[in-house]
Symmetry: C2
Subunit: 356 residues, 2 copies
């Protein structure tokens, strides 16, 4: 539903500074995951902005990214005002990123409710997503809560943080934030019905976000406020930003605040965190193979080809993911995709910035 | 040793019309296996010619190939007279190829002993190879025998024909030619000590080769002799050649003649018949991996990379062969390399001549 012009603005803040090295060789330093159409035909960043319409107006949609990605981000999103792409002087994790967004947005609009989103997640059923956002924003406006979204776990994922909740219904209170659990604990979480994945999406009013930061993490605000009061000279931002603690908003704020609420998500979600996760979105043939691009697979099962300009031929293969780029090729067993990071690390150690 | 000028010439005939589709995507219609450095730094064809020196003079070395490969063959072998690259109008197996070589060489030199060799085999210890050739040529000159080389089997290969021999020493008589045997039979052959692989290399005098062809396979000579007597007009060769039976020299002649002798080879030999066979020539690291080109292998064992211009990264891989070409990529399990032919067949069926 379109927003009521009599109420405070709906503001979207999309964190888009990620690198996505787990999608090498398709993702690169200057072509991170959010710039890729890992799922669907548009980039994940474009899909993220697309699904905000009509709940958020383009002039109230902000992207936070680093300087080296800012121009490409503006180019991908011509529907947004150029100045809505906010530039972090450097990546310092999510807490400084959101503190900067707060201070920059406060300079432009005195009041509003802010939804924090990730640029590189997959979300289906945009209507359900906007409906859940509406629920969260209404609740934030009405109660001053810091609202987070909980994803109902589909498997005992050990790579995510969990939110333990109590209560029923569309808005729940939080018992605890749980760090990435061992498998046995994760299994218990999935069974409990009270634990949700922490997807890193938040809703709060500008005013309450400031108040809670001031209370629990003032060192995230002080340098930025001083910079703003000194005139907000763009050249001075880097020095202020360098003073902010490198920490996540979960650790700096959410785990400390007693005003946190959870909206269980009613939309399908994935962080598309690896090549196997991306492969799961492709349609498979009778032998379990899926191909983007052109491939000839002989005597092969459960393989996924993310092709490029060349023909990919496979013979006698099982459970592989093949990614073809003009200057590099990845062949990866689908159960060992965490090793892609080791490839990137080795290239870094060898100074192969041309491939990173 | 250099040849004695008082004796008939030493003539080498190298059959170089093969396609080597089993080395797709590196081998192509116009870049067959003999044009590739599958083993070593020079092409297999160049290595074949190199190892003849000084036993055969360049002007007595002939290559037989098809029209589409003739110019590239001449280009690869500038040391040979252009006219020594003989052109088959079409590929019709080895018997027509060698009958044509006989007729063409008879036009130029009345007498000589002819060694028939393959352009795409690997042979180590060139001195031992030339010594064995010398033994075979002396025997052919002295006795009029059709001499073939026997390779002592190193494993129960079911893809080769075998020669059953009797006697001892450097020259043996033949009991029988044996077709590609089932595994159990091949095991018995390897154990017998009397069975050798038929490597398709032969030595005979021009005169004896003609006499035995005339006796056992006159239909291989009649059309070519008629063409020659009519003036050997190049334009008329195709019509004569099309009359020749599509058959191998083993079937047409060697299995029928009672003048066959075997020289057991004292040199290491391989027909380098597949990607795994080529991979066996590469040096491996502690995890059994071998790389030509540039590769980063993580958590991977017994893999071989035949790289191209791009980086190849492997994660969690076992027993694979990866071949990178600018327009196509092959990933093949090393135990299923016979499936490469199925890839080529499928591309042919799809009319992808650009990749063949």
């Amino acid at each position: 539903m379109p927003q009521d012009p009599n109420r405070a603005r709906n503001i979207a803040v999309i964190m888009a500074g990620g690198r996505g090295t787990r999608f090498w060789p398709r993702s690169r330093t200057l072509r991170p995951k959010q710039f890729l159409a890992m799922v669907g035909d548009r980039t994940l960043l474009n899909q993220t902005v697309d699904r905000l319409d009509p709940l958020f107006r383009p002039e109230d949609t902000y992207i936070v990214t680093t300087a080296d990605l800012a121009e490409a981000t503006r180019c991908l999103l011509p529907e947004l005002p150029r100045e809505n792409v906010l530039v972090e002087p450097e990546g310092r994790n999510t807490a400084p990123c959101l503190a900067l967004a707060l201070v920059e947005i406060e300079r432009r609009t005195p009041e509003g409710v802010m939804a924090v989103l990730s640029a590189d997640h997959w979300i289906a059923d945009a209507a359900a997503f906007r409906s859940d956002l509406g629920t969260a924003m209404d609740h934030a406006r009405a109660t001053g809560a810091l609202v987070t979204f909980g994803i109902r776990p589909t498997h005992p994922e050990t790579g995510y943080g969990y939110i333990e909740t109590q209560g029923e219904g569309a808005i729940r209170s939080v018992t605890a934030f749980r760090e990435k659990p061992p498998l046995e604990t994760a299994l218990a979480y999935v069974a409990s019905g009270r634990h949700f994945w922490n997807a890193g999406m938040f809703v709060w009013t500008l005013q309450d976000f400031r108040a809670e930061l001031q209370r629990h993490a003032p060192d995230l605000l002080t340098p930025l406020d001083a910079w703003r009061q000194a005139g907000a000279d763009p050249a001075g931002l880097a020095a202020a930003y360098a003073c902010l603690p490198k920490t996540s908003i979960d650790y700096a704020l959410m785990e400390k605040s007693d005003r946190v609420a959870v909206v269980p998500a009613s939309f399908p979600w994935s962080d598309v965190g690896s090549w196997p996760a991306a492969a799961a979105f492709l349609e498979r043939d009778g032998e379990g193979n899926a191909v983007k691009g052109e491939a000839v697979l002989v005597d092969s099962r459960n393989c996924t080809v993310f092709g490029g300009a060349r023909l990919v031929a496979g013979v006698g293969l099982d459970d592989l993911i093949i990614v073809d780029e003009p200057d590099a090729l990845l062949v990866c067993h689908r159960d060992r995709a965490q090793g892609v990071k080791a490839v990137v690390d080795r290239l870094q150690a060898e100074g192969r910035s041309d491939l990173l």
